[in-house]
């Protein structure tokens, strides 16, 4: 535990303007070990992407980390200078994004985009960088990798581009790969290929993966451990087994129920009622209470903490409060 690769402690990310501040990531903590795949799960707008961008130091606009620590290999990234962060970013921590169609620069050749990180971080010559890039492109399944180097993104399909993104991210042998919805924008068949590829890469380089997704199918296939986020807070943290077998938080249950299941004969797909609240209108009590089927009166004006329910399994719900019986009276 002490040798965690990444440890997030009480991270709070806010967007500030002159009049007000909006908290999008609110006091979250979790940790990842080397070689582990952690899935960060939740609906859109729950703060999972902002968590990943906080780690990368790539928060858009006026966003910034207001408090907490991001410990990477024992160093707090939030304390580091822009220059030092740049040395880690794209080198020890790499990231791939949701939109393969727009994430590559349309006017630069693939080769150019592949090599610039290598030249910067590994101080390779252009030639050496190209050789490494070609090698990585082959690794992600491009037979004609040398040709691809000279092509522009518009000449490639979406799946190919995402493979390029993965090859690019993996080119510097990062310890941590952050994958933000890497398959969401892809065809189902391509999705499988890409996931397969990520697993292979992970196996080969022992890379830890922070997988951000809303797709529990992907989670089941890829993750070792799961952190479920809702409205800027972690609501449940558990091993992948625990999540699927004994999920505890009503929100996690809801998410699981809304996955289509061939074995069940239900005609209508379940969906959690209501929408994720925007950061400006987070409820005072439990943030999920307004959408929760099991909510008690108490839930609406008291915010629950994370309660331990098993080995490395925590849940933010009063149902799991050690003295939960006492609430029904209020």
């Amino acid at each position: 535990m002490s040798q965690a690769l990444l440890q997030i402690e009480n991270l709070k990310t806010v967007f500030e303007n002159t009049k007000s501040a909006v908290t999008v990531v609110d006091d979250i903590s979790f940790s990842m070990n080397k070689g582990e795949t952690l899935a960060l799960v939740g609906e859109s707008g729950c703060g999972k992407s902002m968590t990943s961008l906080s780690i990368m130091g790539l928060l858009p606009g006026t966003g910034k980390v207001a408090q907490g620590k991001i410990m990477f290999e024992g160093n707090d990234l939030t304390k580091k200078s822009v220059e030092d962060i740049s040395k880690i970013r794209g080198n020890k921590i790499a990231m791939i994004f949701q939109e393969p169609m727009t994430s590559l620069n349309p006017v630069l050749k693939i080769g150019d985009q592949m090599t610039e990180g290598l030249i910067l971080h590994h101080k390779l010559s252009k030639k050496e960088a190209e050789a490494r890039a070609i090698e990585r492109l082959k690794l992600v399944g491009f037979a004609r990798a040398t040709d691809i180097m000279n092509e522009y993104p518009h000449q490639l399909s979406g799946g190919m581009r995402q493979r390029v993104m993965i090859a690019m991210a993996m080119s510097t042998d990062p310890q941590l790969l952050i994958a933000d919805e890497p398959t969401t924008a892809l065809d189902v068949t391509i999705q499988a290929q890409v996931l397969e590829l990520m697993r292979d890469v992970k196996a080969e380089f022992e890379t830890s993966i922070l997988l951000i997704t809303h797709d529990l199918g992907v989670v089941a296939e890829m993750a070792d451990r799961v952190v479920v986020m809702y409205a800027g807070k972690v609501v449940e943290e558990a091993s992948v087994f625990d999540v699927f077998e004994k999920s505890s938080h009503p929100y996690t249950e809801g998410l699981l129920k809304s996955v289509p299941n061939l074995e069940s004969d239900q005609t209508r797909l379940y969906s959690i009622r209501g929408n994720v609240p925007t950061p400006e209108e987070f409820p005072i009590g439990c943030r999920f209470a307004p959408r929760c089927d099991k909510a008690m009166d108490h839930c609406f004006d008291h915010a629950p903490d994370l309660y331990r329910v098993g080995d490395r399994h925590q849940v933010r719900c009063f149902l799991y409060h050690p003295e939960k019986g006492t609430f029904s009276h209020e």
Binding site: L58, A94, T102, V107, L108, E116
Partner: protein, 320 residues
């Protein structure tokens, strides 16, 4: 590419024919006899009749048009009604100066507007940005003649850095490089006057374009690789943000030929614009036709060049 260019060039021919027909018709319909302006108690009827015959004005308009068109295709732009000299002689004296003025104005525009636009986009909504924005609006709404007079007063009279009028020093005897520098020295104020409105426009355009590119996913990707912000800007943002400027270049080429009218008058800078305004007031149609046709062709060719350039700067565009 050759095929594409050929096709485009052929495509401009009907456009040019159409423009010339419309132009000729408009000039025919406009009130005012080119020879009537020669009100002079000494001008007798025979003289006017003789001039009409000389210029072919006694013939029906359709015949006049074909006569003009035939000559135009052969590179003969006719004889000025007003000055009675060959139009190509009138133009050849002036076209070089207007092009020189236009090119320097364009260079000023690019060299000033693009960096300022980038500066603005780098710190949007900062004090610097607001200052540049306000300056742009002032520049954009300032009439050319006012801007021209202001520059003449400041840099021509008060500071004395630049000549206040003309395109070269009179009776200087300069040759070679010295002559070129003298021309450059003279062109700076009028070019600046001409560039002011353009700079204001381009500055806004570049700012928006850079801001847009900075918010794109590929920029985030570039940052995620750990590239420094300046490298991200130069290599990833600008290449994308400045591509649309190529389109504007095509339009500018035409504007520069026709847009210099007021500037040339104020600075006594003897280009095509000065001749154009004079020819319109005296109904000197052969000159008006020649200049308008040249401007139209410059716009058409400018757009073609812009399209071709586009293929070079944007790999997504290919002409086959």
């Amino acid at each position: 590419m050759v095929k594409y260019v050929t096709r485009r060039l052929l495509g401009t021919i009907p456009m040019i024919v159409l423009i010339s027909i419309i132009l000729f018709t408009l000039l025919q319909l406009a009130p005012g006899d080119p020879l009537a302006g020669k009100l002079d108690q000494h001008a007798d009827a025979n003289y006017i009749a003789k001039l009409k015959e000389d210029f072919g004005l006694d013939k029906p308009p359709v015949e006049q048009f074909f006569f003009w068109a035939k000559n135009f295709v052969q590179g003969n732009f006719g004889v000025s009604f007003d000055k009675k000299v060959l139009v190509q002689d009138l133009l050849s004296e002036r076209i070089g100066k207007t092009v020189f003025l236009g090119v320097v104005a364009l260079i000023f525009t690019y060299m000033i507007a693009i960096p300022l636009g980038i500066l603005s986009a780098n710190k949007p909504y900062s004090k610097l940005d607001y200052t540049l924005t306000s300056a742009s609006f002032i520049g954009f709404s300032m009439p050319s003649f006012f801007a021209g007079l202001l520059l003449i007063y400041l840099f021509g009279f008060q500071l004395g850095w630049f000549p206040y009028s003309g395109s070269e020093t009179e009776a200087s005897g300069y040759e070679g490089l010295e002559y070129l520098m003298d021309r450059l020295h003279h062109v700076i104020l009028p070019a600046m006057t001409l560039a002011i409105i353009n700079i204001a426009q381009y500055n806004r355009y570049v700012r928006a374009s850079v801001l847009d590119a900075k918010a794109q996913d590929y920029t985030r990707t570039a940052r995620s690789k750990g590239l420094s912000e300046s490298k991200v800007l130069r290599k990833h943002v600008l290449r994308n943000a400045l591509i649309p400027l190529v389109t504007l270049f095509g339009i500018d080429l035409g504007l520069l030929l026709s847009g210099a009218i007021i500037t040339e008058t104020i600075f006594g800078f003897p280009g095509v614009g000065q001749l154009y305004i004079q020819s319109i007031t005296t109904r000197d149609y052969p000159v008006v036709m020649a200049i308008t046709m040249m401007t139209s062709m410059a716009v058409l060719i400018g757009n073609l060049i812009a399209d071709i350039l586009y293929a070079f700067v944007d790999p997504r565009i290919k002409y086959d």
